[in-house]
Amino acid sequence: MRNKKTLTKKILTYLILIIVTGITVYPVLWVLKVAFGGTSLLSTSLSLIPEKISLDNFRIVFTQKPFFIWLRNSLIVSFVTTISSLFLATTAAYAFSRFRFPGQKSGMMALLVTQMFPGVLMIIPQFILISEVLHLYGSLWGLVIIYSTTALPFSIWVLKGYFDTIPISLEESATIDGASKGRIFWQIILPLSKPSIAITGLFSFMSAWNEFILAATFLDNEMKYTLPIGLREMVGEFGAEWGNFAASSLLVAIPVVVMFMLFQKFLISGLTAGGVKG
């Protein structure tokens, strides 16, 4: 009786999982099919195996578009954004987590409030700031500056939550051993927070890698485009060039997805639980 019940439960569980996973994976496989399906028109067929496998779409993307320049631009922007925002976020999050100081709560609250700011409202002022004040219109550095700061509030919140779970006793014993606050931060807190740092770094990277509204506003030269802009440019109002779009979107998405998958074991622990098991 009990065995049978667990068996039906098992079957039900797998059924749910397989259906949901199927729905989840289908669009991705569909893109694969279109990308490798050559330049022919799309068919209504639900089959995920293209009629003939061809690399034409990739060839077109590589040879007829400045794909590698866009890739380089995107890499520069994303990596610099990740590093600078991680540096700023870890220090700030550490202070918010470990120090008691006036303005602590309101500071965290202020950061939370920024998440409600409608992005469209900020584009015009940000544009003026970057182009008129900093004279960085058309430069990748303008994007880096905006991306690093807009990613900060979220990163600080996540990191602060993680730092909170690291027992203070660790720091206290380090202090007794004569370690300075700076040393505690660099040599104890940061190594213990790898999962969380990995996750926030990944999010910073992804937000820079995926962003296109600001990039479209700030970049005017095709040689300065980041991938999303280039990609959008490629499909335009995306009518005919589905194959090219699918091929290039695979190329754009793959690094992110691979990274995401490498980091995914940190996802749960990095976002929520602490690094040191009690």
Binding site: T13, T24, P27, T91, F99, M122, W242, V257
Partner: protein, 601 residues
């Protein structure tokens, strides 16, 4: 509060003094700038190149001045064939033999005729007058005045204030800059006798300060306007003379162009900012806040040092644009005035108003897809339906995946977070393809089941469904991961304990799982709500708001106003309303969660 340490008083006094000096410097500088601004109006054709300044030693040497002007004029205008300088007047002969004269009167006119004979060409005698005038010991002006504004020729008026000109400072300046600090000092050092009373005195003084600065600025403007009037009168006098001469000489009468004050009365934002800053500093002194403030900063300097870079960045590039954006929302800032002088535009209080909000909120019409209330309703429905799917799918999957005995758990988890990993603009574009009427997989699937294929983006409801499907696909992994994390942190002992107490699995779910899931899920739901409310990419790329804007969200509407119609002010007002709605939601939920969280503790 009593001021405890003398050193802070000194700091406070120095700061106050610095601020007053800054205001003073700005006021003085400003008067000069204003005059300069008035007298150097730019026209299409500027003869600013004709300006020549004289050194102190050559003050009265008209000859030198004129020679310099001639040189400049020659270098900038190659059409000039000959330049004659007679007495203190200049005559220029163009290649088209237009003779340009200065301060023309009867004699000069005759001289011009002479010149004309020499050049053996026809002369039109009046393009503009160059005239130099000295007034009093302090100021000296060069005025270039266009007498005729023909088609294709435009001149300029330029009155140059000689370097070192001092605009006299009136008594009310003195009041502010000498009497006020003295009073302040007195108050600071007498606070122990006066006690709380000095706060009231201080407040009175602040009011006084505001009034003074305000009056001062107004007075200053009246002053410059008065200067302008006198100059204008002088100019017209000259022109009248000239015109009379002209008429006597039988030449066609030329109308003098209208002279207008080339600046608008506007309030100096910087002075006000500085004044307000001064007021705050003084308030700090009187309430002892400043002392505490500095002590706090010193005491927690390490913490502030750690957060400073991040907060600086966030304030500069997130808060500042936000505040600026809000300012824009109260103006009619659009394509026609974009790119002008921004500081001038935004410091003019006349440009502000509530028109945008009034226009947005005035009409309630649920049949009009572009109406604000329709879009708001759609946005709310969109957000709620998304969140229902996100949370229920996410939690169910988390519960299923949390079973440690499940085989292939990691594989499923990796596959299920795939939508989160893929850039969402790509996802949106892929789903638009999936819902394509002819090639889309969704219609292919419907046909497989024997249904007719649907043209998804021509009906509001199906269009909404397409958006919804995309965003559900996109959003559930986040909820799943959050729920999974929360589930994994629930200690096994709790389930064992509840099992010992004889509760069923279902009871254990409601009494252990749900309450412990809640702290993690509530922030995630609040965050998810905000994200979905502003889910720009999906709507913009999947249905593009279609058909006829029926599936627009408030945010995509705002974007279209800003970047398709270039009505920045209107779009910003839209965004402000969006922000207000979300803020209201945030405050509401924080009260609800506070009120209900107690039940589980």
């Amino acid at each position: 509060m009593m001021v405890k340490h003398r050193s802070w008083r000194i700091v406070a006094i120095i700061l106050t003094a610095v601020i007053f000096i800054l205001i003073y410097a700005r006021l003085v500088n400003n008067s000069e700038n204003r005059l300069k601004q008035i007298f150097t109006g730019d026209f299409a054709y500027t003869i600013a190149g004709l300006t020549a300044t004289l050194e102190e030693t050559e003050r009265d040497s008209t000859e030198i001045l004129v020679q310099r002007i001639i040189q400049q004029f020659k270098s900038m205008n190659r059409d000039i064939q000959e330049i004659a300088y007679i007495e203190d007047r200049i005559f220029l002969a163009h290649t088209d033999t237009t003779l340009i004269g200065s301060r023309i009167n009867k004699e000069i006119f005759d001289a011009q005729r002479e010149l004309e004979k020499n050049f053996d060409s026809a002369v039109t005698a009046e393009p503009y007058v160059i005239w130099r005038q000295a007034e009093g010991p302090e100021t000296q002006f060069d005025l270039y005045y266009p007498v005729r504004e023909d088609e294709g020729f435009k001149g300029t008026i330029q009155i140059k204030i000689k370097e070192g000109t001092v605009i006299p400072i009136k008594l009310n300046h003195a009041l502010i800059f000498f009497i006020f600090p003295i009073l302040t000092l007195l108050l600071i050092f007498t606070d122990r006798f006066l006690g709380k009373f000095n706060t009231i005195l201080a407040i009175l003084l602040f009011v006084l300060l505001i009034l003074m600065i305000n009056n001062n600025l107004k007075g200053q403007m009246i002053e410059t306007a008065a200067h302008w009037d006198s100059y204008k009168a002088g100019v017209y006098e000259e022109v009248d003379d000239y015109l009379r001469d002209n008429t006597e000489a039988g030449l066609p009468r030329t109308e003098a162009p209208d002279l207008e004050l080339p600046f608008k009365d506007s309030i100096d934002v910087w002075n006000y900012t500085l004044s307000i800053l001064a007021i705050f500093i003084l308030l700090f002194i009187f309430t002892g806040m400043m002392e505490n403030f500095f002590e706090t900063i010193l005491k927690h300097r390490l913490a502030y040092l750690y957060i400073l870079p991040a907060m600086f960045g966030v304030f500069l590039l997130v808060f500042f644009p936000f505040i600026y954006g809000i300012l824009i929302g109260f103006t009619d800032y659009n394509l026609t005035n974009f790119g002008g002088n921004l500081i001038e535009y935004f410091s003019n209080l006349e440009n502000y108003g509530f028109d945008n909000f009034y226009n947005i909120l005035r009409i309630i019409n649920f049949r009009d897809y572009s109406n604000f209330y329709f879009t708001l309703t759609h946005t709310v429905v969109w957000t709620i339906s998304n969140l229902i799917f996100h949370v229920s799918i996410g939690v169910v999957l988390a519960l299923v995946l949390n079973d440690a005995t499940l085989k292939g758990r990691t594989v499923f988890r990796i596959l299920l977070i795939l939508p989160w990993a893929i850039p969402n603009y790509i996802t949106a574009l892929i789903w638009r393809g999936m819902f394509h009427k002819q090639f889309g997989a969704v219609n292919g699937f419907l046909e497989l089941l024997g249904f007719e294929s649907i043209s998804w983006f021509t009906q509001p409801f199906t269009s909404f469904l397409a958006n919804l499907a995309t965003n559900v696909w996109l959003g559930f992994p986040f909820m799943m991961i959050i729920a999974l994390g929360a589930l994994q942190s629930i200690p096994k002992e709790l389930y064992e304990a509840s099992a010992i107490d004889g509760s069923s699995k279902w009871q254990a779910f409601w009494n252990v799982t749900v309450p412990l899931l809640r702290p993690a899920m509530v922030p995630a739901i609040i965050l998810g709500t905000i994200w979905t409310f502003n889910q720009f990419n999906v709507i913009y790329l999947v249905s593009a708001g279609g058909p006829d804007g029926a599936t627009e969200l408030l945010i995509t509407d705002a974007y279209k106003y800003a970047f398709e119609q270039y009505r920045y002010g209107y779009a910003a007002a839209y965004c402000i309303i969006i922000f207000a709605v979300l803020l209201g939601y945030g405050m509401f939920t924080s009260r609800i969660t506070k009120a209900t969280s107690g039940a589980y503790e």
